[in-house]
């Protein structure tokens, strides 16, 4: 079926999953605010949110299997959108699942916390769908505003508030750059629709157009901030540390996924013809992100901060996919995103399990000898670490994620062999801290009198287990997932003919 996006009712239909989530979220918001704060209420709203997300996932899956297409318009109807939606929805599901138990421990009462996750997810879905820079801005803001609040959710914690403030101020600052970039591109091309921009870029000579160049650069700044790519990453460690851990996990995965998805779509659909202009900046951005993320992570002692820097490095890896500018790169990007999300979420789930009330016990020393007291947890964490490192079999799908990225990089029309080398070398550096976690857990003795981490709730355990299982299974038989990612590359209507590089 082909949606005619000029037709409002068909536009609404094409927006189906997004609308379901938004409507549900609003209803839940009302319900959440209706009752006084209590843990029971928080749990109930959380459960309802999970149901809502599950429903949205179902709807999205249904949409994705119908072979839907659309005319040119403000939103895209393609598998890339659905794939991104699914990653974000899964992230939201995990965040709420973890949050329900975490909130009890941290005595975070407001039931709205879950609803805010839903709102943020709605923003992400808008981002995933956006084919108009206006929607990109809107989606980013919708997502970000919710996240600003979520980051400061823990009202008892000064750190949480501080993280929230930093994120907010810098986020708004960066949004302004993004917006200015959009304005300049609009000024240069006369459109905010990506496909139209793309056609004009291909048609005219824009790679010397100053307005277009500055616009592209500012756009890169805006996206770079959201994906936490160095040097626009400074907020990330502080916010990740300050935010409640489930929200950190959410930020590290879903937020990043959504921002990256729209980034990629803009880059392929709108700015594909500007490759000469953005190639080397993106190249360097990727290299710097990988370098900074991985080296600074070496000196981290707090697991949340460590994972924050790790996520900065992973932004660098994902930027390699962007730098390819190919559909193969998009497929690799999606695949990697799945791998990264699984591992990252799992790791944060372990952090939650080991952590104690007041968001403490997150230091590396608290993991010493974990293997002796909680072997399963330690092995799971080791799998996540190795997966983030990109290690085959034991790191499961993480390896194939990197593999796919590297393959896309090497087979790009503008080969990124050097960047691939940077990628692997910084991966070596990353072994320095990932393995350090493994080392601390397995090779150090359990300190005298260290408390054994309590058994986590069923949801948290479930998240850990699912993540481990998925990582390991996909690490041995990734074919299906590869097939999905290849089928889910962005496909603008006018690009069907222009596609030269079939993804592998």
């Amino acid at each position: 079926m082909i949606f005619d996006l000029a037709n409002p009712s068909q536009l609404m239909q094409a927006f189906g999953p997004d609308l379901l989530l938004m409507a549900g979220a609003m209803a839940l918001m009302l319900w959440a605010a209706w009752r006084p704060e209590s843990h029971e209420h928080q749990r109930a709203v959380g459960q309802a949110s999970l149901v809502l997300i599950a429903a949205t996932i179902g709807l999205t899956l249904w949409f994705s299997t119908r072979g839907l297409q659309s005319t040119l318009g403000v939103i895209a109807v393609d598998n890339f959108r659905w794939a991104t939606d699914l990653v974000c929805l899964l992230g939201a599901f995990g965040a709420i699942a973890l949050g329900m138990e975490y909130n009890v421990r941290e005595r975070i009462m407001p039931a709205e916390s879950h609803v805010l996750v839903l709102f943020a997810t709605a923003g992400m879905m808008v981002l995933a769908a956006a084919r108009d820079l206006m929607l990109v801005f809107l989606g980013i803001e919708l997502m970000s505003v919710a996240i600003y609040v979520l980051a400061g959710l823990n009202r008892r914690s000064a750190k949480s508030a501080e993280g929230s403030l930093k994120y907010f101020l810098l986020g708004a600052f960066a949004s302004a750059f993004l917006l200015y970039g959009i304005a300049l591109i609009y000024g240069a091309t006369g459109s905010t629709n990506m496909v139209e921009i793309g056609l004009r870029v291909v048609g005219g000579n824009f790679s010397q157009h100053p307005m277009m160049l500055v616009g592209t650069g500012l756009l890169l700044v805006g996206f770079g901030f959201k994906i936490a790519a160095a040097p626009f990453h400074m907020w990330a460690p502080d916010v990740y540390e300050g935010a409640p851990t489930p929200i950190t996990a959410f930020m590290a995965t879903a937020v990043k996924a959504a921002a990256f998805a729209t980034f990629l779509r803009v880059w392929i659909e709108a700015l594909g013809g500007m490759g000469d202009a953005w190639f080397s900046p993106v190249w360097w951005l990727a290299a710097v992100a990988m370098f900074v993320g991985n080296t600074v992570a070496l000196s981290q002692r707090n697991l949340k901060r460590l994972l924050a820097y790790s996520s900065i490095a992973h932004s660098g890896y994902l930027l390699v996919a962007v730098a390819t500018g190919t559909l193969a790169g998009s497929a690799a990007f999606l695949f990697y995103l799945v791998a990264y999300t699984l591992a990252s979420f799992g790791a944060f789930a372990v952090v939650i399990t080991v952590g104690r009330a007041g968001d403490t016990n997150n230091e590396l020393v608290d993991y010493e000898g974990l293997w002796q007291v909680r072997p399963g947890l330690a092995i799971a964490m080791a799998v996540f670490m190795l997966s983030l490192m990109g290690f085959p079999i034991f790191g499961g799908v993480g390896f194939f994620g990197k593999w796919y990225l590297l393959m896309a990089a090497i087979e790009a029309p503008r080969p990124l062999t050097a960047l691939a080398v940077v990628l692997v070398l910084t991966s070596v550096v990353s072994a320095g801290y990932y393995l350090n976690v493994v080392r601390v857990m397995f090779m150090k003795p359990r300190p005298e009198g260290a408390e054994t981490p309590a058994q986590a709730g069923a949801l948290t355990r479930g998240v850990v287990f699912v993540a481990v299982a998925a990582i390991l299974v996909l690490g041995v038989i990734p074919s299906r997932a590869i097939g999905w990612s290849r089928a889910s590359v962005p496909r603008a209507p006018q690009m069907q003919a222009a596609v030269v590089d079939a993804p592998r």
Binding site: F391, F399, S427, V438
Partner: protein
């Protein structure tokens, strides 16, 4: 024997079975760990080591048939299995053996049970995990030797790291943390660059084939790249292998890893894992990039490193106060011979190199086992803490002497055959390097005999040594096969040489022909 093996269709299933059996073994141990959780530790420990040993023994017995079932002279791969793994990327589970890899597979499967027996009583913390790691390690090692798909090879290559990392790091000595991470990262630097090179090769191959492929054979036969690229790719492969070998100056992980690893870890490292580096050169770096490998500058460079390694390893071994470290440095020296043999590129030197490979596996493995045994008794590896113990442990002293002699390369032991073939063959193409390397026979005698003297000879002047007990039947029993191998390969190496000869000869001819074709300038260098 051959008839029986073909009647059970041995070649069709043996390699996958060898690769899968340890995985089942690991699962079995895990099941045991869960089921026996309530039992006393001592009982669990006894049961699990028996269970693990059973798996290793089964593996060894199953693999024995390879000796007969692999026809070394046949042109194609033997015992080959080829099924798709990741079809979208053209990655296949493609395994197969030839004479060279068969001998190494046998070395692996036969050394593993001995390594387990060697640490029969010394591992008491978390035995399940320990044996699981050993089993997983086996998969990786066998996989490396058998892989015929570059990606499969890489995966196998990498998965060895984690078990070894944990074996060193959890069950190792005092500085185990440093040693473990050093081992891991050192190896990883090389192998990740190789990953990029594999991808590059694969993408070229896929372009030529019109479909994605990482098949070793296809790449070998079809991918021809420009000299500069070839050089870079060769460099990436060579670095990965050079670290593993380890060649000077990439060797410094080895002493630390060897010293800190528990006995089985050291044995496996020395006997098998180092062989993967040299095997990598033989199987991949040389045939895939003959023009780069035989480029006069590159070749001289590698040979120079090999020679430096030979002499340097020996000299540094001379002054080591720690016997394990001494043996580690001696490995650097021995593996230098292998590299010299490979890059001298004559049939004799190549055969010698393969022989040294096996010899080193047997002799150094035995040395580490012996060190482990005496360490278990005296809890020190320092040479200075011993002296005169031949009096109290005559069996140990006798076996140690024989093994040291093998390591020195005294004729009549296996060590001589390998080194002699390497040198006599290498002289034809690399006379100066060979003559310099030959001086290592002096240093080898010096460092090993000196250490031997300080350990088992001289006066028994330390009271702690007087109560040391001699080897028990288990230890004798596990060393005897190694002693037999040492003498057998020294006196009658022909069966072994025959197994590798056709493959070695093919390799030498192929590389020479290819290198000559690609770069006529090098022809004069390789022609004899």
């Amino acid at each position: 024997m051959t008839a029986f093996l073909s009647s059970i269709n041995y070649n069709a299933w043996i390699v996958p079975v060898l690769l899968l059996l340890p995985v089942f073994g690991a699962a079995g141990l895990w099941a045991h760990a869960l089921m026996s959780a309530k039992d006393p530790d001592d009982k669990r420990w006894r049961e699990v080591r028996l269970l693990a040993f059973g798996f290793f023994l089964a593996e060894a017995i199953l693999s024995l048939g390879l000796w007969w079932s692999i026809d070394p002279a046949a042109a194609g791969w033997q015992a080959a299995v080829d099924v798709p793994w990741i079809p979208q990327w053209g990655i296949r589970f493609s395994v197969g053996l030839d004479g060279i890899s068969m001998t190494l597979v046998l070395l692996t499967t036969l050394m593993m049970p001995l390594a387990v027996l060697g640490s029969w009583t010394s591992i008491r913390t978390k035995p399940h995990a320990y044996y699981t790691m050993l089993l997983l390690l086996t998969v990786g090692m066998l996989g490396v030797f058998a892989s015929l798909d570059l990606v499969l090879f890489y995966v196998m290559w990498e998965i060895m790291l984690v078990p070894m990392y944990l074996i060193i790091g959890v069950w190792g000595g005092e500085r185990r943390l440093y040693a473990a991470i050093k081992f891991f990262i050192y190896t990883m630097i090389g192998s990740l660059l190789m990953l990029v090179a594999i991808l590059y090769l694969g993408s070229e191959a896929s372009r030529i084939a019109g479909a994605p492929t990482f098949s070793y054979d296809f790449i070998l036969n079809n991918v021809r790249l420009d000299p500069t690229t070839t050089l870079w790719l060769f460099g990436a492969f060579a670095l990965a292998f050079a670290v593993k070998v380890p060649m000077f100056p990439f060797h410094t992980w080895l002493p630390d890893a060897h010293v800190e690893a528990p006995t089985a870890g050291s044995v496996i490292l020395a006997s098998i894992m180092l062989k993967m580096g040299t095997f990598g050169f033989v199987r991949f770096a040389l045939p895939l990039f003959p023009s780069a490998a035989m480029n006069p500058a590159v070749r001289s460079f590698i040979i120079a490193l090999a020679v430096i390694g030979i002499i340097y390893g020996a000299l540094v071994a001379l002054v080591q106060p720690d016997f394990k470290k001494l043996v580690a440095y001696s490995s650097v020296s021995h593996l230098g011979f292998v590299m010299l043999g490979i890059f001298a590129l004559t049939t004799e030197s190549m055969q010698g190199a393969l022989m040294v490979n096996i010899n080193h596996g047997v002799s150094t493995g035995a040395l580490f086992l012996l060190i482990g045994m005496i360490y278990e008794r005296r809890h020190t590896r320092m040479i200075a803490d011993y002296g005169g113990i031949a009096k109290v442990v005559p069996i140990f002293a006798t076996i140690l002497t024989i093994v040291c002699l093998s390591s020195i390369g005294v004729p009549g032991t296996n060590g001589f055959i390998g080194e002699f073939l390497v040198l006599v063959g290498a002289y034809k193409t690399q006379p100066i390097a060979t003559v310099i390397s030959a001086t290592a026979v002096i240093f080898a005698a010096a460092y090993l005999l000196w250490a031997l003297q300080r350990i088992i000879y001289n006066k028994l002047d330390k009271p702690a040594n007087e109560a040391v007990k001699d080897l028990n039947w288990r230890e004798i029993g596990l060393l005897v096969p190694l002693l037999i191998a040492i003498v057998w390969m020294g006196v009658y190496p022909k069966p072994l040489l025959e197994k590798t000869e056709p493959a070695a000869r093919r390799l030498v001819t192929y590389v020479e022909a290819q290198a000559g074709k690609a770069a006529p300038a090098t022809a004069s260098n390789t022609a004899r």
